[in-house]
Amino acid sequence: MSEWLPSVFAVLDATLRVSTPLILAAMAGLFSERSGIVDISLEGKMLAAAFAAGSVAAVSGSVWLALLSAVLVSVALALLHGFACITHRGNQVVSGLAINILASGLTVVLGIAWFKRGGQTPALSGDARFSPIELPFAEQISDVPVVGRFYADVISGHNLLVYVAFAAVVATWWFVYRTRFGLRLRAVGENPLAVDTAGLSVSGLRYSAVAICGLLAGIAGAYLSTAQNASFVREMTAGQGYIALAALIFGKWRPLAALLACLMFGFLDAVSIRLQGVELPGIGEVPVQAIQALPYVLTVILLAGFIGKAVAPKAVGVPFVKER
């Protein structure tokens, strides 16, 4: 038992690390979509935020300034999306796509212009990155079999943003289901006309929702370039924004279910890294590409076959037109 336990723990540990940006982005998407705004621009927001964080951290050396700038950039893009979709009732998918293209192009152009490293930002170290946090008593109880090891190896030793992501899930759940804002948020995604006739502002609610979405996507982006990695790399989101969106749908727009979906995608990812170069009994060595494709293949299969009927917020994607 003791032989395989460390490698299981290593995979779980990696699962948390790879899941973190997915979780943050899924919660971001949840706020937006629950308010009735389709958000395929999670990808673009994360990418732009990752670039902002990487650049600011490289220049200023402060990870906190980096986080702040990532959030500001992401919120600005979210509000742009809101301006197109809420104020001007534009097509939400087209607007999201435009933001993704904008982010993809602009990060490379600015990166080359500012840092002259082919779109990459300078490598970060020390205070310019989020460093691992040792949770209390991790050292002391690491000798306790299984549970202690689990605490020390899997739970402890991550950077702050990993814990923030999990806190964000709990906070999202609490906001959506336990507060007045949450009630209004859910209502505006289901029946905006009911919200309007109740004397509330549909645009106001939707703008706040996309702003929160921007905030969380910004943190996710900062995590990519200043915590998980030590610099911004072009296209470093690599479709994680879409995977997060898939997890959100897979979780039927519910925070805890979306968290589980993110963890599952993260786990597959972690396993695929682990399996590279390993001889599987009876199969032999599986090509790296096949393993790397595994999470995506499974995503397609799961989304197509196992998710059942995902009932989206009824008004998602429909611009609110006040008319009778």
């Binding site: 289901y177 336990r178 507060t179 007045r180 804002f181 949450g182 009630l183 209004r184 859910r186 209502a187 289901e190 029946n191 006309l193 009911a194 919200v195 309007d196 006739t197 109740a198 004397g199 509330l200 009824k314 006040k322 009778r324």
Partner: protein
């Protein structure tokens, strides 16, 4: 004409409108409207579709702002720029289409927008207590933890009323509140309105059903073509007078009694045996329906919307294959495996006026001429080897328009530009023009104004007298009663009763529609 009800000082007015005018581009939806509603009264507003009732109410509830004119609520001048302002002024509105979030509980729906606490729980707790009190005071009891979407429409409406009362509305506006209710539910609603009145709540009832106006209102105002043409005390007016004021001309009371030439042995037009239509989840839209329609007879299918009438039309018109059961329509036998397509049906001289005219009856973006061709585009008259003969199509449309008084009589106008009544007349003209042997008609006068209703009814009776077998589906009981030779009532996909047209009355039908009626008493009353 437009004298307001005398003997009321400004102090006891719940609502006063002066010179309200609202334009949409060149169209004047409301012109110089003045209205005084006495505190604690039930005040009816009647008018045809398009007379400007909805615009006026939208102005009162802050959807639109009036271009000119003043509003005072409770004697104080009010500026209503949003629903929020309206609520603050004490106005509550029960919209025709309910403003409920289906996935929320009743409690959540009621507190939405009126939460005083940032957390949900205290709001819900306060609302629960307050609703218990309201239930007590007004007899408005309801399961507050049920999901709004699961409630029957009558109770959803009750939630809307409770929403208004929870916000301390003392002026309640109801827009066509009985359109979706059974007669029993409507009675219940009226009891609630009376008890609201007793406790000093002012009620404005917007409707086109004159019987309701006579039953429950104290005063009534009539809108016609955007203008307020009359104010009356209800007990000093009559349905006849109100109808004439609404339409602006004298109406003949028409007798549609059956042409006695209809022989008892008239051959069968539609014979349905044990028709079943299942949804994907196995529940049944049609649950063993059997009925017959003879030639020269109108069979009315009554029922609250959504009890299988639409499914029946879908199957009989060839759009949806039944799960089991058979039917013979104009001599052609049909079943699950050999259902004639709608175009074969047309060739069999079976025509269909669909319930949802915008979805199935015409194409909104088409010109009137193109819409009047739909379904007959392959006929040689209109089609020369795949090329449409536009001239003869326009000629067809022009003659249909003349026959059915479609206005404006312009075949080139987009179908969407016509009013609901004129769209319906055009569809009816198209289908009746082919002098069918069997006619399936769904909701022929939904959203159609009184003048057009008269014409549509006359045309249907003309067809019947010409020997056509007509299946008429309608949720308007008055329509069913005045046109049908026999009436069947549908409930949850089944035919729960059949009544002779002459012996039918509203109460019996209403009870059957709610399935609260013992069949053996069906003919007795």
């Amino acid at each position: 004409m437009s004298t307001s009800v005398s003997g009321t000082g400004a102090g006891d007015l719940a609502l006063e409108l002066k010179g309200i005018t609202k334009r949409f581009g060149a169209v004047v939806a409301n012109r110089d409207i003045s209205l005084s509603v006495r505190r604690g009264a039930i005040h009816g507003i009647v008018g045809e579709n398009g007379a400007g009732k909805s615009t006026l109410m939208s102005i009162l509830y802050g959807f639109y702002q009036a271009d000119e004119g003043d509003i005072s609520v409770g004697g104080k001048p009010a500026r209503i720029n949003s629903s929020r302002d309206a609520i603050a002024a004490g106005i509550g509105m029960v919209h025709q289409h309910f403003m409920l979030v289906d996935t929320f509980t009743v409690l959540e729906n009621i507190v939405l927008g009126a939460e005083s606490h940032a957390l949900l729980e205290p709001n819900i707790r306060a609302a629960r207590a307050e609703l218990a009190r309201l239930a007590d005071e007004y007899g408005l009891s309801i399961d507050v933890d049920a999901l709004a979407g699961d409630l029957p429409v009558g109770e959803q409406q009750r939630v809307e009323i409770l929403k208004a009362l929870y916000r301390h509305a003392d002026l309640l506006i109801l827009d066509e509140p009985t359109g979706v209710l059974t007669p029993q539910e409507a009675d219940q609603l009226f009891r609630v309105l009376r008890s609201l009145k007793e406790r000093g709540v002012t009620v404005i009832l917007i409707t086109h059903k004159l019987r309701e106006i006579m039953d429950i209102t104290d005063e009534v105002s009539v809108l016609r073509l955007g203008e307020m043409v009359a104010h009356r005390k209800t007990d000093s007016t009559s349905m006849q007078e109100l109808a004439e004021l609404m339409v602006g001309r004298a109406l003949d009371s028409t007798d549609y009694s059956r042409n006695e030439a209809l022989r008892a042995d008239a051959s069968t037009g539609i014979d349905v045996q044990d028709l079943v239509l299942e949804r994907d989840n196995g529940t049944r839209r049609l649950d063993g329906v059997s009925l017959t329609v003879r030639r020269g007879e109108i069979l009315g299918v009554a029922g609250v919307a959504g009890n299988g009438q639409s499914a029946l039309l879908d199957v009989l018109s060839g759009m949806t294959a039944p799960t089991s059961g058979r039917f013979v329509i104009n001599g052609r036998e049909a079943g699950p495996d050999d259902l004639p397509s709608p175009s074969e049906m047309r060739d069999l001289r079976i025509n269909h006026v669909p319930e949802d005219r915008l979805k199935l009856g015409l194409v909104k973006a088409f010109s009137a001429a193109e819409s009047s061709l739909l379904g007959y585009q392959r006929a040689e008259r209109f089609n020369w080897r795949g090329v449409l003969r536009l001239k003869s199509i326009r000629r067809l449309c022009a003659s249909l328009m003349a026959d059915f008084d479609v206005r404006p009589a312009d075949p080139r106008l987009r179908s969407a530009s016509f009013s609901g009544g004129n769209q319906q007349k055009l569809i009816l003209a198209r289908e009746l023009d082919k002098s069918p042997d069997v006619l399936l008609v769904g909701q022929p006068t939904r959203g159609v104004d009184i003048g057009a209703i008269e014409l549509i009814h006359e045309k249907l009776v003309e067809m019947r007298d010409a020997g056509c077998a007509i299946l008429l589906v309608s949720v308007e009981l008055d329509e069913i009663l005045s046109l049908s030779d026999r009436i069947v009532v549908m409930y949850e996909g089944r035919v729960v009763g059949e009544v002779d047209g002459k012996e039918a009355d509203k109460t019996t039908l209403g009870l059957m529609m709610a399935n609260a009626h013992q069949p053996q008493q069906a003919v007795a009353s």
